[in-house]
Each structure stands twice: as C-alpha cells, then as structure tokens.
C-alpha cells in the first residue's frame, strides 16, 4: 500500500486516493508515424525491475496527474513531479544515481 506525495497539493497520500496510469514519458505517435513507432508508443513497455517512471493521478484529491520515480523491486519512491514535462527533473536523476548507481538511465 504505497504512499506518494502529490506535487500539486503537497500532501502525502495513500494509494487508494490515487489512480495509477502506467509508464511515464511516452512520446505520442500519430498519423504519419511508422508502424514500429506507433506500436512502440502504444505497447512496448520497459517494465523494468528497478527504477521505473510512472504516471499517477491524484484522483480523490486535486485530480491532477503527476509522475513518480519508483523502484519496482523495493517500492522505494525517489520522487514525484508534475506531469508537464518530457523528462525527469535533473535533481531527481542525481538522487537516483546516488541510490542506484547501476540503474541505466530513464529512457
């Protein structure tokens, strides 16, 4: 039963107040994209055992989507940040590098 901090509300809430939304930082491909890119966008998932970037919605709170970096093997949460970005914040990357030196990057 996870707890995550909503970066908009500033409260730490439990999983039951949130709705999970799958892998974060997926780039949308639309008309004109290759079959491969489109398949990758919709289906191919990193699904790492380790550091994972994912989407959550503060569904029972402010209703906003935010992103989280979390270890799927230990459930440690490295940080949360607003969804209006195409890549994780630099300071979060630094923090993860310290905690998981061999994690291999977010892409």
């Amino acid at each position: 039963m996870l707890t995550l901090t909503c970066p908009y509300c500033g409260v730490t809430v439990e999983e039951t107040e949130l709705a999970p939304g799958g892998e974060a930082h997926l780039k949308r491909f639309g008309p004109g994209a290759s079959d491969e890119d489109f398949e990758g966008y919709l289906f191919a998932r990193k699904n790492p055992k380790g550091v994972h970037f994912e989407r959550w919605r503060h569904a029972y709170g402010c209703g906003k989507w935010f992103l989280a970096a979390r270890c799927t093997a230990t459930l440690e949460v490295f940080g949360t940040y607003p969804a209006q970005t195409t890549e994780p914040p630099a300071e979060l990357i630094v923090k993860i590098n310290e905690k998981r030196p061999n994690w291999g990057g977010w892409k």
Binding site: Y8, C9, G10, V11, V13, E14, T16, E17, A59, Y60, G61, C62, G63, K64
Partner: protein, 183 residues
C-alpha cells in the same frame, strides 16, 4: 426557487456525534490562473482573498477553498450562487477561466461533537490528529470522493457528490453509532 430541495432535505442522526446533511448550499467552482489579479479583485469584493495551497478562507458567511493549482471552490448561500457565479464569470471574462455553479451537483454534511474526528477516522485516510483548521483536504470517504475541513469548533464539514449523498449519510450514521467510540 422555492421548489429546490437538497439531496437529503437536511436529514441527520445523533450517535456519539451528530451527523447532518447541511441542506441547500451554494458552491461555485472557479478554474483560473490562481495568480490572476482579476480573480483576487473579485474575491476581495466578497471580503475574501485567493487561498494558498490547501487553504480555506472564511468571511461573511462565505468560504473560498483551494481545490487544485487551478481551481477554487466558493461556498455561499444557495440562492446567491447563480448571481455570484454570473458576476465572477464576468469578472474573469477577459482571462482564460471557467466559472460554474455546482451547488446542485454536491451535497454537504456536518459532523459535530467532541468526538467528531472519530467518525471520520473510520472513513478517511487522513491524520485528524494533525489536521489543522483552515485547511481543505480532498480525500476519500470509504468509496467516494470527499472534501473536508474544520468548519467550526468541534465541527467538520464534508462535501461529496449529490448522487452519493445517501451513501455518505449512511457512512456517517454507522460510524457515529453509540458504542463505536474509538477512544
């Protein structure tokens, strides 16, 4: 307007705390840039100001609460809500904003009594021991969304959607039954 009735017509129960539907209540949702000067001005006209993160401010029988980074909820009397909604809409007309009267979409409840916190401790994943006055907490009460704040001495107010008002009252009633005191 005399034909308007709230979801539960003010039904209430008294156990170790009193739980009651608050009756018709005006509520206006304001989606806008919360740093907007026009918004601040409009609220000032009501004796209020733009609340900070999670804050609820009360003056002259009206309250305004921070609901999200781009949403406020103005709580007022039911009858003045259509007019206020209209005037706020006009005040923000020049900005990207959306003001909607949601008075009919919601139901409001009060939980009062010395042990009022204990009623909500059974329903909401919120630490009531540290839950301060002046804060609006949007959360979950059992299986539905709820927004709650300390609306008076030994009183909490809870807002939920109108369609689940009877469910909410059921939750509050069973959680406030005598014999169910926690401490």
């Amino acid at each position: 307007m005399s034909e308007a009735i709230s979801a539960l017509k003010g039904a209430s129960h008294t156990g170790f705390a009193t739980v009651a539907e608050a009756g018709l209540t005006g509520m206006i949702s304001i989606r806008a840039d919360l740093k907007s000067k026009a918004l601040a001005k409009a609220l000032k006209g009501l004796g209020l100001s733009t609340p900070g993160q999670r804050k609820v401010i009360t003056a002259d029988g009206r309250s305004v609460a921070w609901m999200s980074p781009d949403e406020l909820l103005l709580i007022c009397s039911y009858d003045e809500a259509p007019g206020l909604s209209q005037s706020l809409s006009e005040a923000l007309a020049k900005e990207h904003s959306l003001v909607t009267n949601v008075s009919d979409a919601r139901a409001m409840f009060t939980v009062s009594g010395e042990k009022g916190d204990e009623v909500l401790m059974k329903l909401c994943p919120v630490d009531f021991a540290t839950f301060p006055e002046g804060e609006m907490r949007r959360t979950r009460a059992a299986q539905v969304a709820a927004a709650l704040w300390r609306s008076g001495p030994q009183e909490l107010s809870v807002i939920c959607f109108r369609s689940v008002a009877a469910y909410m009252l059921g939750l509050l009633e069973v959680s406030s039954r005598k014999g169910g005191e926690i401490f």
